[in-house]
């Protein structure tokens, strides 16, 4: 609790740097991540973050210093080059995007590793610490880093704001953007540049591997809560900022814990919760919907079968064996379905046999009626042979509304019997 108060009242300047740094970084990554997400190129961030290594090394070899300015320029150039290479491979050969992605990622990183070890073996003392660019040091951010993050975040957000409409069009309908005369090439270059910029600066805080998550995960999570692109950007930024703060807090409260992985952990938990619990696209909602539909189908089919038996045997007392002979139900379905119908008042149970209640008769009759009306409609209007209409009617009977039922009846001129000469009940 003490650390909580210390942390959130920014008692030490370092806390402020870390929090603002990670929040700015998280937000700018999330914003560019939304664009790569909707362009279905989420793994671009992964490629760029691996591809900066050779650039960092070359910048060091050429200039001989670890000046962040040169290092970032070097990183930016090879990061950019990796995307160009990837695009060239997918455009000019039969190799698909996934293989081109993996290829660019691993080869650039491999070359970088060769260069890095080459530098390390060369014995230059200035090289030590070059690899912190790769593995991140979010907990050790200082004022200078905050400055760099602010500038980058500002550039990324301003460009996104100015070209929002164009980028959106590019992301969703490239062909249309081309037709209305937008400079596609330049816009793509700009979008790629801010993506690379966000990645290059972000790596220093969270490391190569986790940088990919900073782009992908907030966008993926936000997609489950909105279908509006602007809202998606806002939502993902909120998720990202929240994770940034929480990640920084965890590593403040428990000093042995790294910041970057905790930011990604929080982000991932948000994303996984969204996948399960989103009210529109979530897995849980879909499972519930499917179960309730299955339940409805089972109940309606049971009532229909019971009503059909009642048509031939007017006392309406039906045994389980009769019901099973009429239509194929599993034992579990019979048990669960019948007892549920009973508790809903559609059925009565007497000496091991089942009888339809008044309400049950109405509902069962309606199902049979809809089924036969539809069969008749198919034979009359679509000229389908009477022995081919049953399957279709089995499906549609659960969907027809009372309104449609009325119109069907009028269209068929209040028919008495279906194509199989069974009476259509009133």
């Amino acid at each position: 609790m003490e650390s909580f108060i210390e942390f959130f009242t920014f008692q030490y300047p370092n806390i402020k740097y870390v929090v603002f740094g990670t929040v700015l970084l998280s937000i700018s990554s999330a914003v560019v991540g939304c664009f790569t997400f909707v362009r279905k190129r989420s793994l671009l961030g992964d490629v760029v973050s691996h591809a900066v290594l050779p650039g960092i090394c070359i910048a060091f070899i050429v200039t001989g210093t670890k000046n962040p300015f040169y290092i970032i320029i070097g990183a930016f150039l090879t990061g950019w080059l990796s995307i160009v290479v990837m695009d060239a491979i997918t455009r000019n050969t039969k190799i698909k995007e996934d293989a081109a992605t993996g290829l660019a990622l691993s080869v650039f990183f491999g070359v970088g590793m060769l260069l890095l070890t080459f530098i390390q073996q060369s014995g230059s003392s200035a090289q030590s610490g070059l690899d912190t660019f790769l593995f991140g040091k979010a907990a050790a951010l200082v004022g200078k880093d905050l400055w760099a993050f602010s500038v980058v975040a500002l550039i990324v957000l301003t460009i996104t704001f100015l070209f929002f409409k164009e980028f959106k069009l590019l992301a969703f309908d490239k062909e249309f953007a081309k037709i209305i005369g937008l400079p596609i090439g330049q816009l793509e270059m700009l979008l790629t540049s801010i993506t690379v910029l966000a990645v290059v600066t972000g790596i220093q805080a969270v490391g190569v591997v986790l940088m990919a998550a900073m782009l992908i995960t907030p966008a993926a999570a936000a997609r489950y809560w909105t279908s509006n692109f602007l809202m998606m950007i806002v939502t993902s930024s909120v998720f990202a900022a929240f994770s940034g703060v929480l990640g920084a807090y965890v590593s403040y409260a428990v000093p042995s814990m790294p910041t970057g992985p905790w930011i990604v952990m929080v982000l991932s938990i948000i994303a996984i919760l969204s996948i399960f619990f989103s009210p529109t696209r979530g897995i849980i909602v879909k499972v519930i919907k499917r179960i309730s539909i299955q339940r409805q189908l089972l109940e309606e089919n049971l009532l229909k079968a019971l009503y059909k038996i009642k048509e031939t045997n007017s006392n309406g007392v039906v045994s389980i064996a009769e019901l099973a002979a009429k239509r194929k139900f599993s034992e579990r379905q019979l048990q669960v379905g019948l007892s549920r119908l009973k508790s809903e008042g559609y059925l009565e149970h007497k000496n091991g046999n089942w009888i339809l209640s008044a309400e049950g008769i109405i509902k069962g009759k309606r199902m049979v009626r809809l089924h036969r009306l539809w069969e008749l409609y198919l034979t009359e209007y679509l000229r389908i042979a009477p022995d081919h209409v049953h399957e279709d009617a089995e499906t549609i009977e659960h969907v027809l509304t009372p309104d449609l039922e009325k119109r069907l009846e009028e269209l068929l001129d209040h028919p008495k019997v279906d194509p199989h000469q069974s009476v259509i009940p009133k």
């Binding site: 997400f37 279905k40 190129r41 989420s42 793994l43 961030g45 992964d46 691996h50 491979i89 000019n92 050969t93 039969k94 190799i95 698909k96 996934d98 293989a99 992605t101 993996g102 290829l103 990622l105 691993s106 080869v107 990183f109 491999g110 070359v111 970088g112 590793m113 060769l114 260069l115 890095l116 070890t117 080459f118 073996q121 593995f135 490391g207 190569v208 591997v209 986790l210 990919a212 998550a213 992908i216 995960t217 966008a219 993926a220 042995s256 814990m257 790294p258 970057g260 992985p261 905790w262 990604v264 952990m265 991932s268 994303a271 996984i272 996948i275 399960f276 696209r281 897995i283 879909k286």
Partner: protein
Amino acid sequence: MNAFYIILTGSLVAVSCALLGAFLILRKMSMVGDAISHSVLPGIVLAFFLVGSTDSVWMLVGAAALGVITTFLIEFFHQKGQLQTDASIGVTFTWLFALGVILVSYYAGNTHIDQDCILHGEIAYVPIDLFYTASGEPIAPRPVIMLSFLLLVIVAFISLFYRQLFITTFDQAYAQSIGMSTNTWHYLLMGLVSLTTVASFESVGAILVVAFLIAPAASAYLITNDLKMMLIIGSFFGILSSILGYWLAYFLNGSIAGAMVTVSGLIFTLCYTYSILKRKAISH
């Protein structure tokens, strides 16, 4: 002798990867290989701390389990959660990797299994890690024995089930219509990819595995249309990358794995140029 063992290890990894990689590329699942190579980290860490030694079978088991879990999660988020494939891969492997790093930090501030180790590996140490007979005679480096065994399994798997792999790779709908379980073959293939990643990571590092899964097979894919030829040429490119890579590293005094990847990248560049020139020649 050291050079021989290092090149042999590289070649064993390269051939195993090229064979599996050909199927990954054709199934458009190359990035799943990349994902697995990162997400095995928590499995390795847990196995290490639960059993307490680095050279146990448990690390293999832990990592292979995580590999299969990764594959499953990617499919699950994609199919049940309706998350697009690229994002599903990205979310899954970064999450598991973050979990792995957190576990490392939790168990011990600084151990020698860190993300450095999993990304880099160190093939130069292979010859030291010897396997002894009961009487104490050295036979061969342990990774060489393990990787040879793995390669045998992969070759046997592909030659025995070539037809099934072929059909499920090129025509899923047909495979299903003749009653084949495409899922079974998907998970079997991914299981082998996980095993390969895990068996190779100590000696060559995750990035070399990813590069060897994709680069040789992709290079071969550019110069042939025949799956069998692709498997053979891919393996050949893999071996070539190991040999030339070793000597490149020797001259530059740099990372051997990095140099092998660099050479495989150069081979790809050559094949790429060849395919472009050939296409131009045809269109003229």
